[in-house]
Subunit: 419 residues, 2 copies
């Protein structure tokens, strides 16, 4: 299949230009002045912009079912009284319906790939494949420092990794939950599993001060140092949050080629007490990417909104309006995310995956259009026109096939859970 | 003219229910189970929610022309090198075109009334009237502590107040800019003008620490105390920002029935160094309202986004997830704003102005819909279906009459300014 987008504005973290974009199969083949020929799909780019699809590097997609169920509460009360009781009732079909809704929401707001951590990976992968998205799916586990529990979980995770290999555009991952729920032995085993199955690792790290301090009290050294000793820090790791790292820890993680996922909305809503040290990360060349976290703590999966929060939270926290400028916010949401997932995407360049978003620029909030990257980060509400993933048009003129049914099914699943 | 909205969800800061909303002329006449009769307009509310229109209590509407022109810069450099040189070139027609674009953007994102401070009030008022909006328009002035300049400005402002009386749904106001640009004499004269013309006052207050400290150094007392001495603090005043007030100043302003306009996005983007002490304001019963500030420092006029920023910034800054909950965020953006403007709006109740917004709930980010107020504050991107102002439908199914031309004219005006 071939797609030609004619005469659009083309914007990625490296350029802002105008021209055509030509796609063959699942790749961008040509950008600029493309000779007319016969193409399966031709899209008029007049008054539109082509940008790389946004990449959400930390979420728990199916948690959209809990959206708005409990807000404005202290973290532990929220988890223990509201979220965990619901999660205990989750069946594979809930997760399938929830993940489809999440995919729909992401496509509508210009996200083409995401990094998920949840349970029932086959249900997740089936939803992802049906929606035509790209995703890294990790099989979440907790051992709660119990050897037997660890053993059972590792068996399940290994089976999950094998199952995930069967799905299209799915990147398998191991999902040890966090330092306070998984033993060092479990983390070491996760790193080994990831290596053996050529998988990624999705992990929560340094989200709260208590987590960092308790680890040090229990283990006599910093969590980052301990992770390095067991070979956990490497290019396979995507560590979410990371708001409580020291400069030397940031440098070590950069050396080890770790990627981190920044989740500013969730961090603000759940009051983790600090924010990313983006300047130190930039200096160390640590790969910073962007995530929404689950909808229960956001409460949406809108990466455009997340870019704005990321840029403004840096400025506010460090009292410097020049920090994390619009171009950098766009970069962490696109090409850096692709790097974390190990896919050649995030730029509108020949040879890159055709994971693209087309924005209609005829919107009041995108007018007059002095600077398209600034408009994308600070002004748009994230409404997208057309979304192409892996070379296929998954949304056209704002409509995804079967969207009403997906919303209805998810609503039924959510009502079933709280009944 | 009469409008009947049938069988919708009805949500305001005081209730969440279902039923019909019946409008006659510019007022809501009945809410609940309305008997069918003959109505000029009947709107099917199935799968939709009716909410009060949002009220933006601090903006400089025409500055949408500068959207994205300069970002991520230190405040003074941004003003002196970028914004002020452009503002010097502004002609009445630029302001008219810019304000129309701003009105269009506000209507599209569910704002029905706003509080503006800018120049050329007749151009602003003409745009507001043509767009069918409600606005408080203040004639901005600076005297820079120069008596002659003050005299000239007061004459112009008085003329402006008279002119503004001729426009429909326009509330006239005096707009002394800020404590660091207007003398106490100018502020006292503003209070007198406002009283004489039954007008409001729109003012920037306590936006930065420097402003507060310099005033005290120069005048030997706090700005709030000085304002009280000259009779400036009263129910006519809407003071924007107010992030550097002490608890006793907050109490005094509450006693004097002042309204304040919180602008979290602008405060974060421009790095004012602190945020609102919402808890103290709530305790004192100070009327807190919400504003976007101008698009040059936001960069949009989306009040849904602003509610989310307001709620999350409180939580983050004070490290307490229970602060400024969704219902309170909705309240400051609706009924509190109406109180500041002195209009009976902001609730979906009989006798209130028919300034209403209809949201289509069949959106992924509003599914499953456990809590509509939480969804409105934390999840929606602000896309609205239908907007009614003063009993008239100004947007239907997301379309405002003449919107393409408004965008084109504003774009031309913006290009003319930077050429």
């Amino acid at each position: 299949m071939s797609v030609l987008i004619k005469k659009a504005k083309i914007v990625d973290a490296g350029k802002a230009t105008e021209g055509d974009v030509y796609i063959e199969g699942n790749r961008i083949v040509d950008v600029g002045d493309v000779k007319n020929g016969k193409h399966d799909v031709v899209i008029d780019g007049k008054g539109k912009a082509v940008i790389p699809g946004l990449i959400n590097t930390h979420t728990h997609a199916a948690m959209v079912l809990f959206r708005g169920y409990a807000d404005d509460m202290p973290l532990m009360e929220w988890l223990q009284e509201k979220i965990w009781p619901l999660e205990k009732k989750l069946k594979p079909d809930h997760i399938y319906c929830g993940t489809k809704l999440a995919c729909l929401e992401m496509i509508k707001s210009g996200t083409t790939a995401f990094n998920d951590m949840y349970f029932e990976v086959e249900s997740i992968a089936r939803a992802v494949e049906e929606m035509g998205m790209r995703a890294c799916i990790s099989s979440a586990f907790f051992d709660f420092f119990d050897e037997q529990r660890l053993e059972e979980n590792l068996k399940r995770v290994e089976e999950d990794l094998k199952k995930l290999k069967n799905f299209k555009n799915v990147i398998p991952a191991v999902g040890p939950h966090a330092p306070y729920t998984v033993s060092l032995k479990g983390l070491k085993a996760s790193a080994e599993l990831a290596r053996n199955y050529d998988a990624l690792i999705h992990f929560h790290l340094a989200e709260t001060k208590e987590e960092i301090e308790e680890f040090r009290k229990k283990n006599g050294r910093s969590i980052v140092k301990a992770l390095d000793e067991i070979g956990f820090l490497n290019r396979r790791l995507i560590a979410a949050h990371c708001v409580w790292l020291s400069e030397s820890e940031i440098e070590l993680m950069a050396e080890r080629k770790v990627s981190i996922s920044h989740c500013p909305v969730s961090n603000m809503k759940l009051c983790v007490g600090s924010t990313l040290d983006y300047s130190a990360m930039k200096k160390s060349k640590l790969n910073v990417t962007l995530g929404t976290d689950g909808a229960a703590s956001n409460n949406n999966l809108n990466m455009f909104e997340e870019m704005k929060f990321a840029a403004l939270l840096q400025k506010y926290h460090y009292n410097d309006p020049t920090l994390l400028n619009a171009k950098e916010a766009f970069e962490i949401a696109t090409v850096n995310g692709a790097k974390a997932l190990g896919v050649k995407a995030g730029l509108v360049e020949p040879g890159y995956l055709a994971d693209l978003v087309i924005l209609d620029l005829k919107k009041p909030c995108l007018t007059p259009g002095h600077n398209l990257i600034a408009d994308i980060v600070y002004s748009t509400n994230g409404t997208c026109d057309t979304v192409i993933i892996d070379g296929k048009v998954v949304m056209e003129n704002g409509i995804v096939e079967g969207e009403e049914e997906i919303m209805e099914d998810a609503q039924k699943a959510a009502l079933d859970l709280i009944s």
